[in-house]
Amino acid sequence: MAKKKTQGTTSATVSRVFTATDARTLTQLQSLAERIISAAENGKDPFMDIPSRTLSNVRWCPRKKIIEMGRSTNRRQLFNLHQAKAFMQTLLVAKGAAELIQAGKTLSIRGLYYRLKHRIKGTNENTFETQEECDPIIEDLEVLLDALREQLHLYADKRGDMVGNIVLVDSGDEIDCSRMGSGGYAIPSIVEPEVIQFKKCTAKFVLHVEKGTVWTRFNEDKFWQKHNCILTHGAGQPPRGVRRLLYRLHNELGLPIYCLLDNDPWGYYIYSVIKQGSINLAYESPRMAIPDAKFLGLRSCDFERCGLSDSVKIELTQVDRRRAMQIAKYPWFAQKKEWQREIKQLLENGFKLEVEALISKDISYVTEVYTPERIAKRDWLD
């Protein structure tokens, strides 16, 4: 422990010029520590009020059309049997973040878990047993400090690729996304303006697809060349890096975002997260949610509309049905007749469709017929 302490102090003494964001985050971390010290000196219970990240504490803002976090907080106390460990863990994460900022380095959340995991002195208990224990604590610290993961010098595994008519600068390297071959440009976890700047963009819109296989189909058919657009995917539920990048493309470059997702509750929810923000990360909505994003498909009417064969049907499970009904009740869907009709149709169909189902018709049906048709007809759900 003593070793780590000296490490901390030495890196603090090395006069590094902090960016404004880093300086702000560091101050926040220090004031968190300060509050606990003064409580201890006054013989009071140290505590922290962590904004609660539950469904009950998110609010649908019809004006901004995004999910916002409410004001309720949970008090986490050191001298409470059920919170003592979480309290300690929160401070450990804070310490880890402070170290990273002082050293000017970033770590993956898994890396941070390894950095902080150790045996508690005199016991046979670990500070963290699994990464699943550590990840929510990081999110707690984000909301507590009102600092994003990036600001704590942390990032998740990167997921998602991009290709298209755009040139950007990533950490000083110029990247032309139209010359990315078959693999595309891997979207990093942190896409803040400090890291990525847009240099030149001729694309007219962004097509976001659900997963890599579909994305590869579009890339191979050079869809983005023919239709002058940017093609992205997020490998399922898009990670924060992809969502943040889409947000920047939409807001900074004014590009409309079209989503091509599976016709199932999971696909609906991906669209919902891109459009309104997620419940768990509601505090990120203002900088990630894209209320104008459109849902191109697949639609539950596509089975008949495109004349697909019965073999592509996947039966809805009980979980799917329940999830679908839940989604139908979300306030941001509840008011939309088209969405209600869409979900009702899905339940009536009793089956779901993957984007790949269109391939059964023709290898390039989705890129050459389906998608262009939808965009041309402005046939989408909002």
């Binding site: 422990m1 780590k4 302490k5 901390g8 102090t9 603090a12 971390l29 220090q30 968190l32 520590a33 300060e34 606990i36 010290i37 201890a40 000196e41 013989g43 009071k44 219970d45 140290p46 050191l78 001298f79 049997l81 059920h82 919170q83 003592a84 460990k85 979480a86 309290f87 300690m88 401070l91 450990l92 804070a94 310490k95 402070a98 170290e99 508690i120 002195k121 005199g122 016991t123 046979n124 208990e125 500070t127």
Partner: protein, 694 residues
């Protein structure tokens, strides 16, 4: 005997009889005799075979009645009878007893038992009678609390020794420092139940006091601990020495527990010496001798009493030979039975005696005085238990005197809770010895019978842990297997599988056998111990690290047999035992509740303390501050927060001063306080910390 002779005779004739029904011996002799054409035996012949049976002959044949069923028990019974006699003698003389027990091995399966006391000594002419005649004693004809009752014990032991080794009983007795010591070698004439003195031409030898006597004894190989007065009896007998349950060692240990005023010195056949020093210098008050209470006298006894009395009138007979029969009550008895108070008791007819008996049972007579029964006392029970069992909690209760069948008695109970069973203390060498010596057929049986409080569940656990088999022959374990067994014995947690260890006493004498037949064990098993925080399956002894001692003190303890190993189940006795157990049970419950609460508080503190170091580390890394200063501040708060852990709480969760918590009938051994974070003593299991997660 008469019956026996007849049977053998009929059988021998029956085999000679050619009739088909005769030979199988399943028919009753009556039918065979009447059915036979010619008389098989004449009344004259029968009469010739009929003769007196001497008591000693009877017991020589029925030695199991006296506790000499097997060589192992014979050794115990011998020691027991000698020690009981020694203690009775000392107490009656008002001397603080000090007893020396020595068991020496003199060849295979042959032992020499020597027991010496510092009692008043025995008069020269009484020595042969006491040690060489069955049913000779001072205790049978009176109603007074004492260990021995019938005067069979020690002479029976001598007789057993004589039967198995042919050696006489050796007695040295000294009545005062200036008097000579008498040395006798006595054996019993089993045919006639009279003693025979073998040395000094049938007259014994007088050993002069002082140096000369000491030299003489040394020359003749007579051992004697130099005390001003006392008796030493030495008996050589065929026996087996074995440790464990039902052993001499156990008997002496338990005797020390029930007799805190006694100092015991013990030397076992291996030459190990052990002393149980007395816990108190106060002799228990002398129990008073009482006259029988009328309720306890049976019709036959009443008739005998009527015949033998010297009282001239019935009125005087009633008031004079029973306790608690006042003139008013005597008159009322006479009135109710229609007899004149002035009638001669010797002349009452059988019918009149029966009416008198019935009236006595119906009339209201106060219970007998209880000063004839002397309990050990709660304080001394606690002290004794503390020496015997290592536990966390001790409680004792002494009931007020009660009466069964006209005999006053007192029930006392002691309870110790906590600590492990004795199994874990045993050394590798002792274990190997015990295995080699034991006569159990399977390893499982060995474990159950040899260790107190180790039930079948615990035994199975140990065997499984040692990777052995239950049915293995314990005597044939290899060295490595013994190692594994020893390791398992010391590591397996037996708290759950452990059954209650029951120590039974009657008039301060330990009862070591026939637990199942004893009212004490039965009452304990019938009680609902779950109400007192122990686990128990219905109708059996509760489980857990508990030791319970139950002592019955009475002028007449109703044993189920002459070997005095189990107390008969009278409802009054059962009721008293139950009430006493309930009294300690309530205290146990109180203690367990309190302990749980304090433990919980301690756990809380531990959970906080374990994280404080991490918190202090983290904060001092974020912002420069003296880590140890901050840590101390946090620890102070933790202490304040969990201050309850240091408090004693009563049943309602109120803080109380520890000294007020229980009265004098309880000892709570304070646990070492919760470990401080500085000394790294937090040996909590992970599961204890699970509560801290959300």
């Amino acid at each position: 005997m008469k019956q026996k002779v007849r049977q053998t005779v009929t059988k021998s004739t029956a085999t000679g009889d050619p009739s088909p029904v005769g030979g199988d011996g399943t028919l009753g002799d009556g039918r065979q005799l009447t059915g036979a054409a010619r008389p098989r035996i004449t009344a004259q012949k029968l009469a010739a075979a009929q003769r007196d049976i001497s008591v000693s002959e009877f017991f020589a044949k029925n030695r199991h009645l006296l506790g000499f069923d097997n060589p192992r028990k014979a050794l115990l019974t011998t020691v027991k009878e000698a020690v009981d006699n020694a203690l009775d003698a000392c107490e009656e003389a008002g001397i603080l007893p000090e007893v020396w027990v020595k068991i020496g091995s003199v060849g295979t399966n042959r032992f020499r038992v020597a027991v010496q006391d510092n009692g008043p000594g025995i008069l020269k002419k009484q020595i042969p009678l006491i040690f060489g005649k069955l049913l000779y004693g001072s205790k049978f004809h009176r109603l007074r609390m004492s260990r021995g009752q019938q005067g069979i014990g020690i002479s029976a032991a001598g007789m057993y020794g004589l039967l198995t080794t042919g050696k006489p009983v050796c007695i040295v007795s000294k009545t005062a420092p200036e008097n000579p010591a008498h040395y006798y070698e006595v054996q019993i004439d089993t045919k006639r139940n009279v003693p025979q003195i073998l040395n000094g031409r049938g007259d014994g030898i007088d050993i002069p006091p002082g140096e000369a006597g000491a030299r003489w004894m040394e020359r003749h190989g007579i051992e004697w601990v130099d005390v001003p007065h006392g008796t030493r009896v030495t008996i050589e007998l065929e026996a087996r020495y074995q440790k464990g349950r039902g052993s001499v060692d156990e008997y002496l240990e338990m005797t020390a527990l029930a007799n805190p005023h006694v100092t015991l010195h013990y030397e076992d056949p291996e030459g190990n010496e052990k002393t149980y020093p007395r816990a108190t210098d106060e002799l228990p008050p002398e129990p008073k001798e009482i006259k029988p209470h009328p309720y306890g006298v049976e019709l036959g006894a009443l008739v005998t009493k009527l015949q033998e009395t010297t009282a001239p009138t019935l009125y005087q007979f009633l008031t004079g030979s029973f306790s608690r029969v006042t003139p008013t009550i005597a008159r009322r008895i006479c009135e109710a039975s229609g007899l004149s108070p002035r009638s001669n008791p010797k002349r009452l007819s059988a019918q009149e005696a029966e009416t008198l008996y019935r009236v006595i049972q119906e009339i209201k007579i106060p219970p007998p005085a209880s000063d004839c029964v002397v309990p050990i006392g709660e304080k001394l029970i606690l002290e004794g238990l503390r020496k015997l069992v290592k536990a966390d909690f001790y409680a004792a209760a002494t009931r007020p005197p009660a009466v069964y069948r006209g005999n006053p008695f007192v029930i006392e109970v002691g309870l110790a809770y906590g600590g492990g069973p004795g199994v874990q203390k045993i050394s590798r060498e002792t274990l190997a010895e015990m295995l080699a010596e034991c006569d159990a057929r399977t390893l499982r049986q060995f474990l159950i019978t040899q260790f107190d409080g180790l039930g079948p569940v615990g035994a199975d656990k140990i065997i499984e842990e040692a990777k052995l088999k239950r049915r293995m022959n314990p005597a044939k374990l290899s060295g490595a297997e013994i190692d594994r067994l020893h390791h398992a014995l010391s590591t397996v947690n037996l708290q759950e599988g452990q059954t209650m260890n029951v120590l039974r006493f009657a008039n301060r004498v330990p009862l070591q056998f026939q637990a199942g037949a004893c009212v004490i064990t039965q009452t304990i098993a019938q009680m609902n111990w779950r109400a007192y925080g122990l686990s128990q399956s219905k109708g059996s002894l509760p489980t857990g690290p508990v030791t319970v001692m139950v002592h019955m003190a009475s002028v007449w303890v109703p044993f189920t047999s002459e070997s005095k190993e189990a107390i008969a189940a009278y409802p009054e006795i059962q009721r008293e035992i139950r009430l006493a157990l309930q009294a300690v049970g309530r205290k146990l419950k109180m203690y367990l509740l309190r302990r749980e609460r304090v433990q919980h508080e301690g756990q809380r503190r531990n959970i906080f303390l374990r994280y404080l170091g991490e918190v202090a580390d983290a904060i001092s890394a974020i912002r420069p501050i003296d880590r140890d200063y901050l840590f101390q501040k946090l620890v102070d708060i933790a202490r304040k927060k969990t201050a309850e852990a240091d408090m004693k709480l009563d049943e309602r969760g109120q803080f109380v001063d520890p000294s007020e918590l229980f009265d004098g009938s309880v000892i709570v051994v304070e646990q070492p306080s919760d470990s401080e974070p500085e000394n790294n003593g937090l040996h909590l299991s992970h599961s204890a910390a699970v509560g801290a997660r959300h």
